[in-house]
């Protein structure tokens, strides 16, 4: 049943649809000064059918998710808000899953309801309401899965957390779900020399070694800091000062779950100076105080007198993109001086990039040395993808990285403008990592080649790509992972605004820890486009990986997108998407399969 507050969100979307269809923002006047109102509405309505999963809570339910961005700009001020809402209907009953843990089915559940345990590490990862399900790949054949659907306004007691010996270490806390709430809010003042923000903001210092809090839509991540941030540019001098609490995107679309804000406290200071109009030298430091403490996990436990966890990451950087007319240089060093679980955690990180320009070629030499440089996770990170540091990986953004904390690697990339209609690029990386500490050692090779061919005055194109990756366990002399990637994107212009396009990727994979035999996975899409109004596509996604949690391996789908205006679109999708691990910039999470239908509306005023 859709709650009344969510009906309100639907009404809001409907009202917005009645506005003029040409997106140029809305202009007002206050005392002769322009005031701009900008609205972007995004609505997602989906019906989930049988996706082949063994988890019954993913089957046969509906969802309505909505985001409304609103901005008011007046002179040097910008006020922005974002409202999120979510509702799920016809949701499966937790009691429908068998076998189930009866301790977790009462409302509130018994305090000894078992928490979620990572089957690989045995580490407790989530203290939410859970139920048991059979999983042959998990220890003892049993996995603990969080029950996802919490009716709006329901308060559910979190189960107590257990350590590896089964002792209770946490007394629990209340959870709740709002159907409609304010997700982000910010007021910014900006002029030539200063920018000050009160409220939610993103931040990135250097190349992400010490702090990078950005939007990563591909993983469903949109974390900001809620607090204050000041940026100063004055001549050759620059500075950034900030402090705030982490504010997660609370509605996780992929898992239909509510995620609590971590409320970790972060503060940072960065200063830089530009010398000789070409060399920028900077220094920064970040201090973090996690809300959920591993040293004293029981909130309010006065008997625990262990020192609180903290994160301290200082660093320095040099940025000279035009050191000479033919050479650019970037270098950054960061130090990890954390304390996690009463133990000091120290590490080092160095990243460097040298770019050389020679005629029609550009050479990029990158190197990274991460010495026990641990990722800084949010203290509430149920899917392992909420991080505050994102050190560069050197690989393609979608590459699944096994280890980016203890590694020495370098890569050389070449981009060539062969002719006006032909470009090529190639990259080769080699490295050595220690995924399980100093006694382990893996070697890796990652290489790829791509081309861009254009014709019909650039309206038609073909972009082929070929990639290869291999990781080898040098100690055990065994294969860790092997990947051959074939990808492409092509378009043929047919005239009168019509074009036919195809895109796809096919990965040939071997990874003994996931499967005893190799497998293939990929997507193939064909589209007919009628500029600027319509896009119709057919798709086929597949995986040959035999996985006990999914019985469907082939997914067919069709989609139609209507561009109502250049900035407003309505899309309809029917069919399936395959499940799998998705990685962006070394941060990965598992996405479930989708089988059903969905409607997506993007409206901009």
């Amino acid at each position: 049943m859709i709650r009344s507050r969510t009906l309100g969100a639907l009404a809001l979307a409907a009202a917005a649809l009645a506005f003029p269809s040409s997106a140029r923002a809305l202009d007002f006047r206050i005392k002769g000064e322009a005031l701009r109102l900008d609205l972007t509405e995004s609505m997602y309505l989906a019906a989930h059918l049988d996706d082949g999963s063994s988890d019954v809570t993913t089957l046969n339910y509906g969802e309505l998710l909505n985001r409304l961005y609103a901005q008011l700009a007046w002179r040097h001020f910008l006020f922005s808000v974002r409202f999120d809402s979510g509702a799920w209907f016809h949701t499966p009953d937790a009691n429908s899953s068998l076998p189930s843990n009866p301790l977790c089915q009462t409302m509130p559940p018994d305090p000894s309801c078992v928490v979620r345990v990572d089957p690989t590490t045995g580490q407790i990862t989530d203290g939410r309401l859970v139920h048991q399900q059979a999983d042959p790949s998990a220890p003892n054949g049993t996995a603990y899965v969080p029950y996802r659907f919490l009716p709006p306004g329901t308060v559910v007691w979190r189960g107590r957390q257990l350590d590896r010996k089964g002792n209770v270490v946490s007394s629990g806390a209340a959870l709740g779900v709002s159907a409609f709430y304010l997700e982000k809010i910010a007021l910014t003042y900006s002029d030539r020399n200063i920018e000050a923000t009160l409220g939610d903001f993103y931040v990135n210092l250097g190349r992400g070694l010490v702090l990078s809090i950005r939007k990563i839509d591909e993983l469903g991540v949109d974390t900001t800091l809620s607090g204050a941030k000041v940026v100063i540019h004055r001549g050759n001098f620059g500075a950034v000062a900030l402090a705030g609490w982490s504010n997660m995107q609370n509605i996780d679309q992929a898992q239909a779950q509510w995620i609590e804000d971590s409320n970790d406290l972060l503060s940072a200071l960065h200063v830089d100076y530009r010398f000789f109009d070409r060399i920028l030298i900077g220094a920064h430091g970040v201090f973090g105080w996690p809300f959920h403490d591993t040293a004293c996990p029981v909130a309010g436990d006065s008997s625990c007198n262990k020192p609180h966890d903290y994160y301290l990451r200082p660093g320095v950087m040099l940025d000279a993109p035009r050191l000479f007319s033919w050479l650019g240089l970037y270098a950054e060093y960061a130090r990890e001086q954390d304390r996690v679980g009463t133990a000091p955690q120290k590490g080092n990180a160095f990243y460097g990039a040298l770019t050389a320009y020679a005629g029609r070629t550009t050479w990029l030499l990158e190197t990274k040395w991460y010495d026990n440089y641990q990722p800084w996770h949010a203290s509430n990170d149920p899917f392992g993808n909420l991080v505050y540091t994102v050190p560069p990986t050197l690989e393609r953004v979608i590459t699944q990285i096994n280890n980016n904390t203890d590694i020495l690697a370098g890569r050389l990339r070449l981009d060539v403008r062969a002719t006006d209609l032909l470009n090529v690029y190639a990259s080769v990386e080699v490295g050595r990592s220690h995924p399980a500490g100093p006694t382990s050692q893996d070697s890796l090779v990652d290489a790829y080649f791509g081309a861009e061919v254009r014709w019909d005055e650039g309206r038609s194109h073909f972009f082929p790509f070929l990639g290869y990756r291999a990781e080898h366990d040098d100690i055990a002399d065994a294969l860790e992972e092997h990947l051959v990637a074939v990808e492409w994107d092509g378009a043929q212009y047919l005239g009168r605004g019509l074009s036919v396009e195809t895109s796809g990727l096919i990965w040939f994979r071997e990874k003994p820890v996931s499967s005893a035999v190799g497998w293939r996975e990929g997507n193939v899409y064909v589209s007919l486009k009628w500029s600027p109004r319509l896009v119709a596509s057919l798709g086929y996604e597949f995986t040959t990986l035999v996985d006990a949690t999914n019985s469907i391996h082939n997914f067919f789908n069709g989609a139609l997108t209507w561009n109502i205006t250049p900035a407003t679109s309505l899309g309809v999708f029917a069919g399936g998407n395959r499940p799998g691990l998705k990685c962006i910039s070394g941060v990965c999470r598992v996405f479930p399969a989708f089988q059903g239908a969905r409607l997506e509306l993007t409206l901009r005023l």
Binding site: A16, P20, A25, L26, D27, F83, R207, P391, H461, S569
Partner: protein, 177 residues
């Protein structure tokens, strides 16, 4: 984060615009009407220099949000370069705004040189400007700003043939003195 009632949101949505706009017009022959003022911002370009939107006051500016990992952007951007070269002497500029994060930003220069791009290429690693103009982080997304600093067109995505519509919008904006 916080709970708010629906009426506030509905009130925001019901604010009336001061400019009268008819149904969406796609015909290139129509002149582009005036829109709302574009917010100023400062970003660094690929040479490390600070670039401010207001530095181009009096010119027609096309903001293009793109990324090296975006294939439609790769298909569209050469057309923008051609449009820039044809019209820069008339007071037109394209500002490419890369949404690449720290993990792919090193590829931006090679990408720009590979495609022989000569218009200013700005780096928005923090997605701060993206948050103002492109909160959904759509790629590609273009925003056309006229000589008076007003947003006159927002366009998302790219299909072959869209470049004709973009060119027509630019010509209309350039024709307004």
């Amino acid at each position: 984060m916080r709970r708010l009632t629906v009426p506030l949101a509905l009130a925001l949505a019901s604010c009336a615009p001061s400019t009268a706009n008819g149904p969406g017009a796609q015909s290139p022959s129509e002149s582009v009407a005036l829109g709302a003022a574009a917010s100023d911002f400062t970003l660094k370009d690929i040479d490390g220099r600070s670039v401010r939107l207001s530095d181009y006051a009096g010119q027609v500016v096309l903001l293009d949000f793109w990324a090296t990992w975006c294939v439609p952007c790769e298909a569209e951007i050469p057309h923008l370069e051609e449009l820039y070269e044809q019209n820069k002497s008339r007071g037109f500029v394209v500002l490419g705004i890369s949404m690449d994060g720290p993990e792919t930003i090193a590829n931006v220069v090679g990408f720009a040189r590979r495609l022989n791009l000569n218009f200013p290429m700005l780096l928005d690693e923090e997605t701060r400007v993206t948050g103002i103009y492109n909160p959904k982080r759509t790629a590609p997304l273009s925003i056309l700003i006229d000589r008076a600093g007003r947003i006159v067109r927002v366009r998302q995505g790219y299909s072959a043939g869209d470049e004709n519509l973009v060119a027509a919008d630019v010509q209309s904006a350039l024709a307004v003195k």
